[in-house]
Symmetry: C2
Subunit: 392 residues, 2 copies
């Protein structure tokens, strides 16, 4: 079998919202299809992937380097002993002649390719993606199950007067609670304790439950002690990204001071960086959470290396809570028994919600049994992906 | 004044050579021009930049994100109080709504823009680039001088039988010595002590001087002790990148074992990463060298932050030896009194040699007095850049 075509389209997903670090007005994301010559159920087997959100689309790099390398490789060199597409062999072909270091956009481009290849691979095996991944990496899959825990992620900053903003925040959090999420994460500014506390209180009241908070790397060091104390009083579920992504020393200070869980890692895009977080970040394995995003960080082979490295240091898979809430991450949580899936509860967004008709109850759901990742079962996402699937 | 156009072309610079990490057959580089509406000497002032080598061209990202942002900014917001283009204001406009972390391709795209902006800025001030930079950052410029030290960089792996290869290596190193470089750096494999020692001996004999060696992050840990001992016996000038770029723990082990200078940093592309090298890499400030490449690492504003951070930790500017040997780096060495400039001695390459007619004697040269970086004075490079300069 062989790959017939690889197609990418960059989709504008801009929204009038922001977090403590960036605005999302001009945000984009990549949709990708890898079309094969193998026909199943009367259709060419096609692997799909849709981007994680927040670092812009990856189309340019894909077209410039990674798609041409994959298409130039001898087709047989990309197959395993069973004659099926081998995502790890494809990974090596796409990464040929790439230097070490510099884990920025490249890991996201490779991650997208890898995700589409695993979607195709699972379809070739007629398995849901999580089962395919679990079977491929048995050492990581002792907790494999389609039943996963989820939390809701929302509460970005949007234009408006403060009182309106708090009302809108509360309404958004309440919608998430009503949709089945007893734990919801919101964005904070990290530079004003009273403002941030008001947001947590409004959100907590609306939810009737615990709130996790995200400072997006922008907690002001000059108020950090008092800010962390206030978050502890407010009983937040965790503080996310108090320090800038690569400032392990600042993170370590916060982690040692804090009397509440710290979560970070969504802006670390490689095994190398995740290992440095482990070595220098001062995280506590019984308490803290690692949020590396598989799609932004070279895909499954790299994620498995990271899991193994942390496991060797005594960490449980339950400490891993992948960033971003794309459907691919939900399968990863199921395959490897990770702690939780992050979900953007608004299913009207192509990157929000889950598969159409999937019920979330008390922060739990069960992944439906579609072959592959099941992008076909989320209509507004498949409307973007399907046009990429023509074999010609 | 305002920017009329920003143009990029991706140039194939493939060559049948390799180092311990990658092959260069499909290597590309970006050429960039920023055309302004200010006329001097009857011509629109145009800032040029040409890529560093080894991480591929940056055209796709430039067109996707960074050029559109700069062109969308209000022209006045990009000027300083004197009405001249302000490279730091342009830097902030290009980096708007970019998250922390992930320093990979983005720093190279921003670095190219920044380099072209400084070329334009120096021309607007009718100064050589090094003088313009020194005047702009006086705290970094106490050692400013057009007279700089250089070393030659060559000795990549090329196809052929071993004896031929050693002969070709010796001939290449001898050409560098004859061209005025008493210190030459060559590539080693890092996985076979006898092979690597033979290369150093052949090169050293041909040069009649000291050889620096580059393992490109691939020194085999299982032979590292003996390999470093052998390099010490051979009296190499320094060992470059013994460890993978982000493995500070491995680097620290080598740095503490070694009885010879260690150099690294060409694959660290940000202040964050350079600071982690300082914190965790175990380098010795009196002995070791930092090789961050200004073009690959967000340009001058980021490089200045790095210099200041290291200076605060007691490092001298002479410990900084920028990677790659592009003309922009030579001006940086002159402006900030850095230790040495890396030159690819083969002037027939657009990224090799210096300005046409520039003499190198005993590893020293003086930067000619052209306005800006002087790309116009290197014919084979200007042949690539000049076509980008049309105002329409």
């Amino acid at each position: 079998m062989k790959i017939l075509a690889i197609r990418e389209v960059t989709v504008p997903i801009g929204a009038a919202m922001s977090n403590a670090a960036i605005a999302f007005d001009s945000m984009t994301a990549s949709a990708l299809a890898i079309v094969t010559d193998r026909v199943q159920n009367g259709m060419p087997v096609t692997g799909y992937a849709f981007d994680s959100i927040g670092r812009y689309g990856k189309g340019a790099l894909l077209r410039e380097r990674f798609i041409p390398r994959l298409l130039a490789a001898s087709p047989d060199s990309l197959l395993d002993d069973n004659g099926l597409i081998d995502p790890e062999a494809c990974w090596r072909a796409a990464m040929a002649n790439e230097k070490d270091g510099g884990h920025g956009e490249r890991p996201g481009a490779i991650g997208l390719l890898d995700a589409a290849l695993w979607d195709a691979r699972a379809k070739l095996e007629s398995k849901p993606l999580w089962r395919c991944l679990a079977d491929h990496y048995p050492d990581c899959a002792t907790g494999a199950s389609p039943k996963i825990s989820l939390y809701g992620s929302c509460g970005h900053y949007r234009p408006g007067r403060t009182s309106d903003v708090l009302d809108a925040l509360a309404a958004e959090v309440k919608r998430a609670g009503d949709a089945g999420y007893p734990l919801v994460k919101i964005k904070l500014g990290g530079n004003n304790i009273a403002d941030d506390a008001a947001r947590v209180e409004a959100a907590s009241r609306a939810l009737g439950g615990r709130i996790a908070v995200d400072a997006n790397g922008r907690l002001d060091a000059s108020i950090a002690d008092a800010w962390l104390d206030r978050m502890t009083q407010l009983d937040v579920a965790w503080v996310e990204e108090p320090a800038s992504a690569l400032d392990y020393a600042a993170l370590g200070r916060y982690a040692s001071q804090a009397r509440l869980p710290i979560a970070t890692g969504e802006n670390l895009f490689s095994f190398d960086d995740a290992r440095n977080l482990l070595r220098y970040g001062g995280l506590q394995k019984e308490r803290d959470r690692v949020q590396v995003d598989v799609l932004l960080a070279y895909g499954v082979p790299e994620y498995v290396r990271i899991l193994r490295e942390y496991r060797a240091a005594g960490w449980a898979h339950s400490a891993f809570v992948p960033h971003a809430g794309h459907l691919f991450a939900a399968h990863l949580v199921a395959a490897f028994g990770l702690g939780m899936h992050e979900a953007a509860p608004d299913a009207s967004l192509p990157y929000g919600g889950l598969w159409d008709g999937t019920a979330v109850r008390d922060g739990r759901t069960s992944i439906p049994s579609h072959e592959g990742a099941g992008y076909e079962a989320k209509k507004n996402l498949y409307a973007i992906l399907q046009p990429l699937s023509s074999p010609n």
